[in-house]
């Protein structure tokens, strides 16, 4: 029965994607992208990927809409030109689609337990996690411990992307690009709207609390540093929307965000080096405590904290960089 739900949701997904590409109004495209994100999160949940669905929820529900709207406010809301060479592109794309569709016929049937992808390392992870790491959430175990190198790389990619955005958007930082709060009244957020302001302020502590829960409950249920970082960033973005940029920057100054970004990535790297110092290999947490399993727990806790700090710092720094830009 759930497979029928999945098929229905996937069909809606295709309709949404077509509508996103067809509309010439970029604002509408961003709204439809929000629906796309909700649909794909529901699909992930149906495909047993609760952690991935939570990540998509944390990122897609608030942050990506806010970022795209911020970029639209700085550029333009409409596609002005009609698509040139439309038929040529369509022919190319349709023929490529046929090739990819032809390739899918070599795929194993949906949900086949004998498929090659299920035979490789995955059974080993599922079997050995209770013994080596002893956390119920295998996704967290693989993310933080078995594939710690991979996650280290991803954290540095996020970090680098954050630095890149800051380089691009703080070119005239300080005077020309930064608007003063009372100049045009456009960055006080929704401070004059009583109802959103009251409800928003009420929700911020709950989102922060939920973020912490997701961060530290990630070993036992869906969650972890990536989701928690996005949720905490969403809480501060909500605060910025209802109270204005300047007050958010008073609560969490820009330099503090830079410190968060750097310290998270650094913490991850240092935990890896601590493995070497204590006589193991890079990112081997077993040597961090007397008992290897306790060492793994400590290592996972620390690096998840590092991931959470970096993701929060980067997402908020990106948000402020867009919001502080002079608008046309």
């Amino acid at each position: 029965m759930t497979i029928i739900f999945g098929i229905f949701l996937l069909t809606l997904l295709v309709i949404t994607a077509v509508a996103v590409v067809r509309t010439a109004n970029l604002f509408v495209a961003v709204m439809l992208l929000g629906i796309f994100s909700l649909l794909i999160a529901a699909n992930f949940l149906l495909l047993d990927a609760a952690d991935v669905a939570l990540t998509e929820a944390a990122v897609g529900a608030g942050i990506s809409t806010v970022l795209f709207l911020g970029a639209l406010a700085l550029t333009s809301e409409r596609e002005r030109a009609a698509t040139p060479h439309r038929w040529l592109s369509l022919i190319v794309v349709v023929s490529a689609t046929l090739v990819v569709l032809y390739a899918t016929f070599d795929k194993p049937t949906f949900g086949d337990p004998e498929a090659p992808v299920q035979q490789h390392v995955a059974p080993w992870y599922l079997e050995k996690t209770p013994e080596y790491i002893d956390v119920p959430n295998v996704v967290t175990a693989v993310l933080a411990s078995f594939r710690g190198y991979d996650t280290l790389g991803e954290v540095f990619v996020v970090f680098t992307a954050g630095i890149g955005v800051l380089f691009l958007l703080s070119a005239q930082h300080g005077h020309a690009a930064r608007r003063r709060p009372d100049e045009d009244g456009s960055n006080i957020g929704l401070r004059d709207d009583l109802i959103p302001r009251v409800v928003g302020r009420l929700l911020v502590p709950f989102i922060l609390l939920f973020g912490l829960y997701v961060q530290f409950h990630g070993d036992y249920g869906p969650g972890g540093g990536f989701q928690a970082g996005a949720l905490v960033a969403a809480a501060f973005i909500l605060y910025a929307l209802v109270e204005g940029e300047d007050r958010t920057l008073e609560a969490l100054p820009f330099n503090a965000l830079l410190t968060l970004m750097v310290s998270g990535a650094l913490l991850y790297g240092l935990v890896g080096l601590a493995g070497i110092v204590f006589g193991g290999t890079f990112l081997d947490y077993s040597v961090l405590a007397d008992d290897p399993v306790a060492g793994q727990h400590l290592g996972i806790l620390l690096i998840e904290a590092g991931v959470g700090l970096t993701v929060t710092g980067v997402l908020l720094a990106i948000f402020h960089a867009f919001a502080a830009r002079d608008r046309f």
Binding site: M1, T2, F5, F8, L9, L12, I15, T16, A19, N25, F27, V28, M31, L32, G34, I35, L38, L39, A41, A42, L45, L46, A50, A53, L54, A57, A58, A61, G62, T65, V66, L69, L72, A73, D184, G185, S186, N187, G189, L190, D193, P196, G200, L203, F206, I207, F210, V214, H217, G221, P222, G223, Q227, L231, A234, I237, L238, L241, V242, R327
Partner: protein, 95 residues
């Protein structure tokens, strides 16, 4: 019995999507995004119990908490745009 609700929610999601694609105003689309959000919360809660995994409710909780950031961002977007347009007109109006 969960199937009844899941079915109703899915059909409503489809209807909301039709409204989002048809428009006609941008606000209709925002409305359907908003509606889609609550429907997703309900659907996830139902699926969590269908699958017998109540820990999936964390996901519904996340959506219930942060779904309306998007709508507030839309309101802020329109307000600041209206303010900017007023400012652009102001110099022309001045004598």
């Amino acid at each position: 019995m969960y199937y009844v609700v899941a079915f109703a929610t899915l059909v409503t999601m489809g209807l909301a999507l039709i409204r989002a694609v048809l428009g006609p105003t941008v606000y209709d689309r925002v409305l359907s995004v908003n509606m889609f959000g609550t429907k997703t919360v309900l659907l996830i809660s139902v699926i969590a119990f269908l699958a017998g995994r109540p820990d999936f409710l964390d996901l519904a909780l996340a959506y219930a908490l942060i779904n309306f950031i998007g709508v507030l961002a839309v309101l802020e977007f329109f307000k600041s745009r209206a303010a900017r347009r007023l400012q652009e007109q102001a110099p022309e109006d001045a004598p």
